[in-house]
């Protein structure tokens, strides 16, 4: 299991197993995920499609679909196990503490309501109860706003405060002309602008944890660069911990502090960005890094990872990467490797680094 480092852990996932029941059979999507998020960091979760990165995020947010089943595990967040919470409590957690942004903003924005209505509603859910006389909107580092309000505020006054907070949120994500934006409907905005609105909605609630699931995948490169730049500048202004989920190693290299690599439902490697790219240790991470054409490289032949991503209804035994691994040995098909620290802050789940192998 991954040990906690000097930094404060915000979220700790232990041995999380999730199955999905489908027509074709039980899909073993998460196979004992261990992960620790530190407070205030940007953590990148990377992997190919079907590796379980989004399912991990959905589990944290309590948004797993009905055909899923949590087999085992804990998700410890500020001392509580999120998996033990009722759906009402999770709703509360999502409103107050954990925000999530998805790939396609159009499915999450209501097409018949203005941006303003949706944005103020989301702020109302978070702060509506605390707004009162003597209350002032939160600033960064002070997510609750001022002390408890001394009295009730009129409805009109409350509306004004919410409006101002919404405008402020739109400014923070660098949307031009926020007043006009408040009156716009989602279809009037471009893809990049919609994604900024989604980010504004999440940030306006000052969440402790913000999960961004493939938020730049649907955007063009020049717009993607703008959103990544925004994430980089926001991190200075916020104290939220951000999880960036993506299949693009370029994106994580640009914005993240630490990276977790997932393969077929397992976290196979966790390290700081610099460590991971400089000395990847897991054979899958190594293969992945060699397999991507890099624009700074020439056209030397790519080394591909042989085989294909396994079918998770009948996953390979023990280490799920063993059938594709160039270094696999007997133990790899017998026992699942644990995620262990090989150097400070660098965790790998691979039998290549076990004592017996080193000795032989």
């Amino acid at each position: 299991m991954e040990k906690q480092s000097t930094q404060q852990a915000l979220l700790q996932i232990e041995d999380l197993r999730v199955d999905f029941t489908t027509y074709a059979g039980k899909v073993k999507v998460l196979n004992g995920v261990d992960l620790t998020l530190h407070e205030g960091e940007i953590f990148g979760l990377v992997g190919e499609s079907g590796c379980g990165k989004s399912v991990t995020a959905l589990t944290i947010a309590g948004l797993l679909p009905e055909n899923s089943e949590i087999i085992s595990g804990k998700v410890l967040f500020e001392g509580d196990d999120l998996l033990k919470k009722s759906s009402n409590q999770m709703r509360e957690t999502r409103a107050m503490k954990v925000a999530m942004i998805f790939q396609d903003p159009m499915t999450f924005l209501n097409p018949v309501l203005t941006v303003g209505t949706q944005l103020t509603e989301s702020i109302d859910v978070r702060y509506g109860k605390s707004i009162g006389e003597g209350w002032r909107p939160p600033k960064s580092g002070d997510p609750l706003g001022s002390t408890t309000p001394s009295g009730r505020t009129g409805r009109r006054e409350k509306k004004r405060i919410l409006y101002e907070m919404a405008i402020d949120a739109l400014r923070r994500v660098r949307l031009p002309d926020p007043e006009r934006m408040m009156k716009s409907f989602p279809h009037e905005l471009s893809g990049g602008m919609r994604q900024r609105v989604m980010i504004a909605m999440a940030l306006a609630r000052n969440p402790d944890l913000l999960i961004a699931d493939e938020i730049t995948t649907a955007l063009d490169v020049t717009i993607q660069a703008q959103i990544l730049e925004l994430l980089r500048t926001l991190r200075g202004e916020l104290k939220s911990t951000i999880v960036v989920i993506t299949h693009d190693l370029g994106v994580v290299a640009e914005v993240c502090d630490r990276i977790g690599v997932m393969y077929a439902g397992d976290v196979v490697e966790v390290a700081t960005v610099d460590d991971l790219f400089a000395k990847p240790m897991h054979p899958y991470t190594q293969g992945l890094l060699h397999a991507i054409p890099i624009v700074t490289g020439g056209n030397e032949r790519l080394e591909s990872v042989r085989g294909t991503v396994p079918d998770l209804i009948h996953p390979p035994p023990a280490c799920r990467f063993n059938p594709r691994c160039p270094h696999a040995w007997d133990l790899c098909a017998k026992e699942k490797p644990k995620l262990l620290a090989q150097s400070p802050g660098h965790f790998v789940a691979c039998h290549l680094y076990t004592q017996e192998r080193k000795a032989s």
């Binding site: 063009d220 299949h247 790219f277 991507i292 700074t296 991503v309």
Partner: protein
């Protein structure tokens, strides 16, 4: 005009009418491709890159006449293929093939791989009897890295990467000279993408093919192409040899585009100001230079006058009034080069 020229596109325009009102009158046009000229050399891989809506796919389909272009010429062996009557297109179609982006949509779910391949051979009129067709199918399936068993299976039994291999085999079945690859790997995972890209490179050499490779992924283009054309809002902005384009781009748009790519290397990644603004709507393209609304170097001249694609180097064409005068800093791609060498 060079001797190695295989295909030449001149002034290609593909406009789609926008109708409105009760009478369905044509109100305006979406100029998906608006006056594009370039050539493709024999045996090369020509890359076409651009953001969504830039017209790269429309160009490919217009060349193959899957969409009828509005104006322009496409020369193959000196004759204009846009002038050929539709019913006489078949012999040309045999020589020009296309592989589509989505291997889940481009294969008939009710045909086995063998029948798909044989059908393609029959359509090209090149196969006399079944035994020979089978031998050829066997050869093709081997060439794309699959085996005899796979010939009797249906598309749903294959993974995305395998399906794309089948699409490649089917394209090869007609013995083509030229293949358009329209985002052939964007549906695939990175570990599988590398396998398919390597396969395509090998096949190009073995079958002496000419490629038109279309993608929005600048890293893939660099890996796959000899020469690259950059599109923006229906116009060709720059055409050059890949090495030159990535090391010394002349158009500010190409420069910004290259600098926008996320690079999987933290040592190079942290940096640079991204391009401001959004891609304008294709229904309402800016006048003058189409890029002037986002260009950091734009002047009055750019708003007034449209720059034409002009030759700025031996093998370099740029559509910018100020090409060669701007002193663009070397892009990330060139900087990295200097560091490592």
């Amino acid at each position: 005009m060079s001797e190695d020229e295989y295909l030449r596109v001149e002034g290609l325009k593909t406009w789609f009418p926008v109708t409105g009102g009760i009478l369905g009158r044509v109100k305006s046009y979406v100029k998906a491709v608006d006056g594009v000229s370039f050539h493709i050399e024999k045996g090369e891989s020509f890359g076409l890159v651009g953001e969504s809506g830039s017209g790269k796919t429309t160009i490919a389909r217009s060349i193959l006449r899957l969409i009828e272009p509005t104006a322009g010429q496409v020369f193959l062996d000196g004759s204009d293929i846009l002038k050929i009557k539709r019913r006489n297109l078949k012999p040309i179609r045999r020589r020009l093939q296309i592989i589509f982006q989505d291997p889940y949509a481009s294969l008939d779910p009710r045909q086995t791989v063998r029948s798909m391949l044989v059908e393609a051979m029959k359509a090209s009129g090149s196969v006399p009897d079944l035994a020979e067709a089978y031998q050829r199918a066997l050869y093709l399936i081997g060439a794309v890295g699959l085996n005899e068993d796979h010939l009797f299976r249906y598309p749903h039994e294959f993974s995305g990467g395998q399906r794309q291999r089948i699409a490649v085999a089917r394209a090869l079945a007609t013995n083509p000279e030229f293949i358009v690859l329209d985002e052939p790997t964007s549906f695939l995972d990175v570990s599988v993408q590398a396998q398919v890209l390597n396969l395509l490179k090998d096949l190009q050499k073995d079958f002496k093919l000419t490629f038109l490779f279309i993608t929005h992924n600048l890293s893939v283009i660099r890996y796959m192409s000899d020469r690259v054309g950059v599109m923006y809002l229906g116009k060709m902005m720059e055409v050059a040899d890949a090495e030159e384009l990535y090391n010394a781009p002349e158009h500010p748009y190409t420069h910004a585009l290259i600098n926008s790519i996320p690079i999987p290397d933290p040592a190079v990644a942290k940096r640079r100001a991204p391009l401001a603004g959004e891609v304008p709507s294709i229904t309402n393209v800016p006048v003058g230079c189409v890029f002037h609304t986002r260009c950091p170097y734009a002047t009055q001249k750019c708003t007034d006058e449209e720059p034409l694609l002009r030759q700025t180097g031996e093998r370099h064409w740029t559509a910018c009034h100020y090409a060669k005068e701007l002193n663009l800093p070397p892009p990330v791609t060139a900087r990295r080069r200097q560091q490592t060498s």
